[in-house]
Amino acid sequence: MAFFSRKTFSNPGTRQKSIPDGLWMKCVSCGTTVYRSEVEERLHVCPTCGHHYRVGAHDRIGLHFDRGSFEETHGGITAADPLEFAAGEHTYASRVDRARQETGLNEALVTGFARIEGNRVALGVMDSRFVMASMGGAVGEKFCRLCADAIQANTPLLLFAASGGARMQEGILALMQMAKTADAVSELNEAGIPYIVVLTDPTSGGVFASFATLGDVLLAEPKAYIGFAGARLIQGALHVKLPQGFQTSEYQYQNGQLDRIVPRSEMRATLAQLVRLLHPEGAVPQEPAEETEAGGDAALDAQAEPDSAATKPQS
């Protein structure tokens, strides 16, 4: 469970899931050749099939939060190597160095404060390019500090989760971060701070089984891989054929594990709405709406058809 899959590990960078370089690109999902700039304009979503590409932490912040509003906190925290993990040709220290150079990040979780439609929030964003956004001591500590910061500032906490699980190379100490972060959520709960989580592709293992699923409200991007145990592990153990769409956002929604699947184009509005509703004392007044949004059942209907949200052309 609490480790990243072989597939993702053997493809460091996992670039094929993010937008490739060049003027034109072929969509990894539908195969259509599209302008790279058009995909980027649509918040890294394929204009033809609605495939949501993975985005790095700072890109993500740029997509959904008010321009220039992000103030990073605890940016210097990075992985230690408590086990001095070296096994044959693999050393953890070199793996982390490579991730830092490739991503320009010190760790897989970026924390800070930002504004969304004017509302100030504490924000955590995980970046799967950094050792598959696995959770070691640094990610655990940053999440705990983020919770403490949200409590102190009395702002809602938003988290964009992504992870392959607990970070194997930190051994048992990485596993302990599950208890530590779950408890940090308790502290939020005791302080009455709303905690909203968006599960993104991929969220699994020990992060899925700790702070990422303890949100008061759980959202997910369409067709994200979300699950506890790797499909390969399940298949290997049980010799069963897994159903189509197993461990996708849509599957988790149908099983009652999520409140809502939110396409990237609606993410900002949805998060801002929740922040206003759950934290009215700090909210910036809403612009008068021109027409009432489809709420409740209408929104559910859209999700009951797993493909509709993603395949609908965004006019």
């Binding site: 607990a166 020990g206 506890f228 592990l233 099983n255």
Partner: protein, 332 residues
């Protein structure tokens, strides 16, 4: 020799056999000394992989062997009040030296039939929900909790996923971490990943001498690193999975000694050690030292990190500890 005899035990078993044929007093004394020395040598030189094999030995005492010998008046609680009753998880109330305690644990099973019924101690979501029900009841009524950890993992399966295996482990962790009654966890054999930790987020954790407690199976670690599960011994070594490793990291508080033979050949010493551990725990609990704040502070200290200059500034990749930061937090 039987498959129940591990490779490093073969010499010990041979000595024991020859000892049983010796009539001469002097020879017996000599062989006894030789055997004792050999046992000490073998057990002091065990590799991490040897420990993994010991921990997974099918003759080790299981949760219900402990509860039968340690408690009186055991009353089992069944069902999660929502979906079903998971036989991999056993919950109940019992009496320990005149005091009521709540008991939660995984039962791996002894005979094949029981192992299958109990899914080798791999719990489904309803098992964790049953555990949560039991510990909330203990909290409500004000009784201490003792958990017995013995699982290779939370069950990885289709139905477990459908019923929310990940979220339920998260919820169990949050529940255990905030309990207002004292919690002691005993890691009996295999503490496998989040499925084990879910019921081991405790005020005090003790672990049997030959048990392992780990983030992922060494076979899987080897597969991830080298695509070669056969390099499991190397992986076991790198992962630091033994009781002494965990004591050094501050993840466990005590080691339960297993005597000269190991719990798979003689369960009495480890069960006696568990009894002493529970007794000490209940005495300490009386003093009121185990509060949710205590548990919170204990787990907050776990894990290590470093402070680095921002990467964008092209700082050297080596993480320089800043003097104000608790860089080494694992107490080791």
């Amino acid at each position: 020799m039987s498959e129940l005899v591990l490779p490093f035990e073969k010499r010990l078993i041979e000595l024991e056999k020859s000892l049983s044929h010796v009539e001469n007093e002097a020879d017996r004394d000599r062989l006894n000394k030789e055997l004792a020395a050999e046992r000490e040598r073998v057990f002091s030189e065990l590799s991490a992989w040897d420990r993994v094999q010991l921990a997974r030995h099918s003759l080790r005492p299981r949760m219900l062997d402990y509860t039968a010998r340690l408690f009186l008046d055991f009353f089992e609680l069944h069902g999660d009040r929502s979906f079903g009753d998971d036989p991999a998880v056993v919950c109940g109330l019992a009496q320990f030296k005149g005091r009521t305690v709540f008991v939660v644990g995984q039962q791996k099973g002894v005979k094949t039939e029981e192992k299958v019924k109990r899914n080798f101690g791999m719990a489904h979501p309803e098992g964790y929900r049953k555990a949560m029900r039991a510990v909330r009841m203990a909290e409500r009524l004000g009784y201490p909790i003792i958990t017995f950890v013995d699982t290779p993992a939370a069950h990885p399966g289709l139905e477990a996923e459908e019923r929310g295996q990940g979220p339920v482990i998260a919820e169990t962790l949050r529940t255990f971490m905030s309990l207002k009654v004292p919690v002691l966890s005993l890691v009996l054999s295999e503490g496998g990943s989040g499925g084990a930790l879910a019921i081991a987020a405790a005020d005090r954790v003790a672990m049997a001498e030959n048990a392992i407690y780990l983030i992922c199976p060494p076979e899987r670690c080897a597969e991830i690193l080298w695509r070669d599960a056969e390099r499991k011994a190397e992986a076991a070594n790198a992962l630091r999975v033994t009781a002494t490793d965990l004591l050094e990291f501050g993840v466990i508080d005590n080691i339960l000694g297993e005597g000269a033979l190991g719990a798979h050949r003689d369960p009495q010493p480890v069960i006696d050690a568990a009894r002493a551990e529970i007794e000490r725990f209940l005495e300490d609990a009386e003093t009121g030292i185990f509060t949710p704040e205590h548990r919170r502070a204990k787990f907050r200290r776990m894990g290590q990190w470093a402070e680095a200059a921002p990467v964008a500034a092209q700082a050297p990749a080596t993480a320089e500890p800043a003097p104000t930061e608790p860089v080494d937090n694992a107490g080791g």
